[in-house]
């Protein structure tokens, strides 16, 4: 990295907004995924103009640029795979406008997802997309990855809640797309940029829709003695046209780990549970809860509990939300996948996942958004053993391939990033890639923005890249 670039960045942003020492840079080589890549410089812009100038400088020195929010992503989307400048948006975290009358908020990309809700809940509104990292993840990252969450089953993912964006292109040009009230004449550019994983432009301002809180909510816990019964329940809930606000499934083995951890009174001998939430008008909620309960019982639910109050509801959700951590207690590390399958194929998918686990000798937990077929198998492994890490990756590839075989997709909400780009040919043809590449090049012609993401780098399908060992830990401990 040329010293003059550092000098120019320092004078542009002030040295407190530029990191260049190795001891600082190593803290930006990871995110929430198992990937690693170290930037050469880290900068903290405060304004859109800062971002534009940084990007222009990067172009002048011909170094790549990558955007990052809180670094909670699960596919390496915010890692500087080609080195270069990492633009951290965490200090661009102001809510610029709250228009409660029109249910809109205009925010900078570094605003934390949950902080939007906190700022508007007094008016009975909230921001609907709720990734489980919503306490930390930024809206900029949500836009890049088109983030989802448990309650997106009924309310849609990030793209359904974004009406306008301000963007900085790799040449520094500032562009606004969409409009505050949506329905802009012309192409749905917001629809293109949301979920483009930071490979087309850097997002510097976002206008989001706010949603009105439902009048009533009911949370049900259904306990099953057979996984298939739980899967079939999900299928029938879907088929009967009941759209719960959330429909989450946890397998029995995982549930034991959770119960050991939080003592919420979950059964220790079940095969699976469903956590189902219905929302809406009081009358609708009553009717839907009754219908859901009926479906559960038809499919031999051993027990259906309905949370009596917020306290019980919180306890049930606490189990779901702490599930990953609970599993973390069973092994030193875990690898979370994000495949999607048609909802009716749940039973066979779960069977196959368990077989793939057996084949590689892993325990695989299943905690996932059953309602929309978004699986999150969690492979438990010990990173001290490099063979285990390789096998975890291999098992994940087999599971994702199977999802595609069932008519599904590689990722439902985590993004492709640098984690699954080599698997993309499972879904897309050369012609598909050509067109995607042309759209990419129309915005990012030199691949200077977030290089090495989404598109496969190697030819041929499913080639496994040899990753750097994901974890290094103190030798003495």
């Amino acid at each position: 990295m040329p010293a003059s670039l550092l000098r120019e960045l320092n004078s542009l942003l002030g040295s407190s907004n530029v990191l260049h020492k190795n001891e600082d840079l190593v803290l930006y080589e990871y995110d929430g995924s198992v990937e690693k890549a170290r930037p050469d410089l880290v900068v903290f812009p405060h304004t859109t103009e800062d971002v534009s100038r940084i990007v222009k400088l990067a172009a002048k020195y011909n170094v790549p640029v990558v955007g990052r929010g809180s670094g909670t992503g699960l596919s390496g989307g915010a890692l500087a795979r080609g080195g270069g400048i990492l633009i951290v948006f965490a200090r661009m975290n102001r809510i610029l406008e709250l228009d409660l009358e029109n249910a809109r908020a205009v925010v900078q990309p570094g605003v934390v997802n949950l902080d939007i809700t906190r700022a508007v809940e007094h008016a009975g509104l909230y921001f609907a997309p709720d990734p489980s990292s919503q306490k930390s993840c930024t809206i900029g990252g949500n836009v890049a990855e088109n983030a989802g969450g448990p309650h997106t089953l009924a309310y849609g993912v990030t793209v359904n809640h974004v009406t306008a964006l301000e963007l900085v292109l790799p040449d520094g040009e500032i562009v606004r797309v969409g409009s505050k009230h949506g329905d802009t004449p012309g192409y749905d550019l917001c629809g293109l940029f949301v979920g483009s994983e930071g490979t087309l432009a850097l997002v510097t301002e976002i206008t989001v829709k706010l949603t009105r809180k439902a009048e009533a909510v009911k949370t049900l816990l259904a306990i099953f003695d057979a996984v298939d019964d739980a899967s079939n329940t999900v299928a029938e809930i879907t088929a009967r046209g009941i759209t719960p606000a959330a429909c989450e499934m946890v397998d029995g083995w995982t549930l034991c780990a959770i119960e050991d951890y939080i003592h919420a009174g979950f059964p220790r001998d079940s095969a699976a549970i469903l956590l189902i939430e219905v929302e809406g008008l009081r009358e609708a909620v009553e009717a839907q809860a009754a219908a859901v309960e009926d479906v559960c019982r038809t499919h031999h639910a051993r027990e259906v509990r309905i949370a009596k109050d917020d306290c019980e509801r919180d306890l049930l959700w606490k189990g779901r939300k702490n599930a990953f951590g609970a599993l973390g207690r069973l092994a030193p590390s875990s690898y979370v996948l994000d495949g999607v399958i048609p909802r009716s194929k749940l039973p066979q998918a779960l069977q196959q996942i368990s077989q793939i686990g057996k084949k590689y000798g892993f325990s695989i937990g299943n905690i996932f958004h059953a309602g929309d077929g978004n699986l999150h198998p969690i492979v438990l492994y010990d990173p001290r053993d490099p063979r285990q890490f390789e096998n975890a990756i291999a098992a994940s590839h087999e599971i994702l391939s199977y999802c595609v075989e069932l008519g599904g997709a590689l990722t439902g909400e985590h993004g492709v990033g640098m984690e699954k780009n080599e698997l993309m040919p499972l879904l897309f043809s050369d012609a598909d890639f050509d067109l995607m590449r042309r759209v990419h090049d129309a915005c990012n012609p030199d691949s200077s923005l977030n290089p090495g993401k989404i598109f496969p780098l190697s030819k041929g399908c499913g080639e496994i890249r040899v990753r750097k060992q994901a974890e290094t830990l103190p030798a003495h401990v």
């Binding site: 409009s179 749905d188 550019l189 009048e215 008008l281 609708a284 990722t411 042309r438 759209v439």
Partner: protein, 460 residues
């Protein structure tokens, strides 16, 4: 004529004579604002469509993909129009998985037929668009025209989950998939919504479907003035009642609607008082929810001093709904020269609506106004002649409409107007800041600009 004949012959050479039509009378059926194509091709598969596209690329010909041709007057007429690619031959359901509530359907499938198939499994696609009885699924999607159910189900972008299409290089491509949640790759299919066929030839579309509601209901409230109607709508929004549609009709629009209704149901038309502002609500849900919403609306109407209000049964609501759904269609022909605008303004406030009506008044034009789904304003200016003075008046009034929309942080498009007016005003409204980005997108899909050149925003 020879060039056309020659074109037809060469197209016949690719797909066979039975797939190509070049008879004068039929070509006129495919005219867009008076422009007639050189030939009509009826591909029977995505491969055949791709072959025609590749031919067009080599020959530098312009293609307009068509469905039922009910909304070809949207946008500008194409700058060039050599081949009309009639997609109605692709009309199969590729997959319908009722258990998954997902659907994969060919571009030319008529919405009506699709609805019949889906309803057998108790499902539907919430694309309630004008010219419903003839529209094809891809036509409805590419036109970007509003569905009357958008308040409850969103716009097509919200339930389109994937697409297959032929790009401007003649390659069959796809994006998205057949699952309801998916972030694998760029969401290129979303760009197709409302693109007027300028990016690609859509061959297949994947949707999530929805379950037909148990019950439906409607409610009608009349107000002696706009302020009353507005405060009633505000009250509804504030209490967050889930409505499928909420429409506010100006007195003139009430009269036009009543006239349209009279053709099929004279008795119900009598319920509409053309001296009042009417607010029609449609809602659906379980047997318990529908009467609850009706009750709440009745209460809100009386609290906001409605002159009159009544609960509609499902049949009346459906009837009114189907007439209202077709407003775009019948408003186009409501006078010899009609200019129909679609306007989006924040919180359609009474002041903004009044200002629009004022524009018409100042030009001594008859006008009617409809706020759809509590968000989209349909505003029509009606001139009674087709002469130059009528055009001139409309042109001035159109400038006023575009100005008001811009001043209110919103935007307007001219959905329909006499061709002569379209050539004088920019139907897409003032130049937008993101035009450059749209041009980039267009170029990446269709580098040689063979798809409906000139029909779209900024001459795309």
């Amino acid at each position: 004529m020879t060039a056309t004949a020659n074109l037809a012959t060469r197209l016949e050479g690719i797909l066979g004579a039975h797939r190509v039509v070049a008879a004068e009378a039929e070509l006129r059926e495919y005219a867009i604002d008076g422009m007639v194509p050189g030939a009509i091709v009826h591909p029977a598969s995505a491969q055949e469509a791709a072959e025609i596209v590749r031919f067009a690329i080599t020959e530098k010909l312009a293609i307009v993909a068509t469905g039922s041709r009910s909304k070809l007057d949207l946008g500008m007429p194409p700058a060039r129009y050599d081949i009309a690619l009639d997609m109605t031959g692709l009309h199969e359901i590729a997959h319908f998985d009722p258990g998954d509530l997902t659907l994969s359907v060919d571009a030319g499938m008529p919405l009506r037929h699709l609805a019949n198939v889906l309803s057998e499994k108790g499902q539907f696609l919430p694309l309630a668009v004008p010219c419903y009885e003839t529209s094809t699924v891809a036509g409805a999607l590419a036109s970007g025209i509003d569905s009357t159910l958008r308040k409850q189900y969103g716009t097509a972008r919200d339930f389109l989950i994937g697409a297959e299409f032929v790009d401007g290089q003649g390659a069959p491509c796809k994006s998205g998939g057949r699952v309801v949640k998916n972030v694998t790759g760029y969401d290129l299919h979303k760009l197709l919504v409302g693109s007027l066929g300028t990016l690609a030839v859509i061959t297949r579309l994947n949707f999530r479907t929805f379950t037909l509601p148990q019950a439906r209901g409607g409610h009608l409230a009349c107000f002696s003035n706009l302020e009353g109607a507005s405060s009633y709508c505000d009250a509804i929004e504030k209490c967050g009642l889930p409505l499928a549609n909420l429409e506010t009709l100006s007195p003139e629009m009430v009269a036009l609607t009543a006239a349209a209704l009279r053709e099929t149901n004279a008795e119900f038309a009598g319920h509409l008082d053309p001296a009042k502002w009417c607010v029609c609500a449609s809602f659906e849900g379980s047997e318990a929810v529908v009467p609850r919403i009706a009750r709440d609306l009745q209460k809100l109407a009386s609290e906001t001093a409605a002159a009159d209000s009544e609960i509609l049964d499902a049949a009346s609501d459906a009837h009114l709904g189907s007439v209202s759904r077709e407003a775009f269609d019948w408003l186009r022909w409501a006078s010899p020269s009609a200019a129909l605008f679609r306007i989006v303004l924040p919180q359609s406030k009474p002041g903004d609506l009044a200002a629009l009506l004022c524009v018409a008044q100042e030009s001594s034009l008859r006008s009617a106004l409809l706020v759809r789904a509590a968000a989209i304003i349909y505003f029509v200016l009606l001139a009674e002649t087709e002469d130059e003075s009528a055009l001139h008046t409309l042109e001035n009034a159109a400038a006023g409409v575009f100005f008001l929309a811009g001043a209110g942080q919103g935007h307007a498009t001219l959905l329909h107007a006499p061709l002569k007016l379209k050539s004088r005003v920019n139907v897409w409204g003032p130049k937008r800041a993101d035009l450059g980005m749209m041009q980039r997108v267009k170029h990446s899909f269709d580098p040689q600009s063979i798809f409906a050149p000139g029909r779209f925003v900024g001459g795309i």
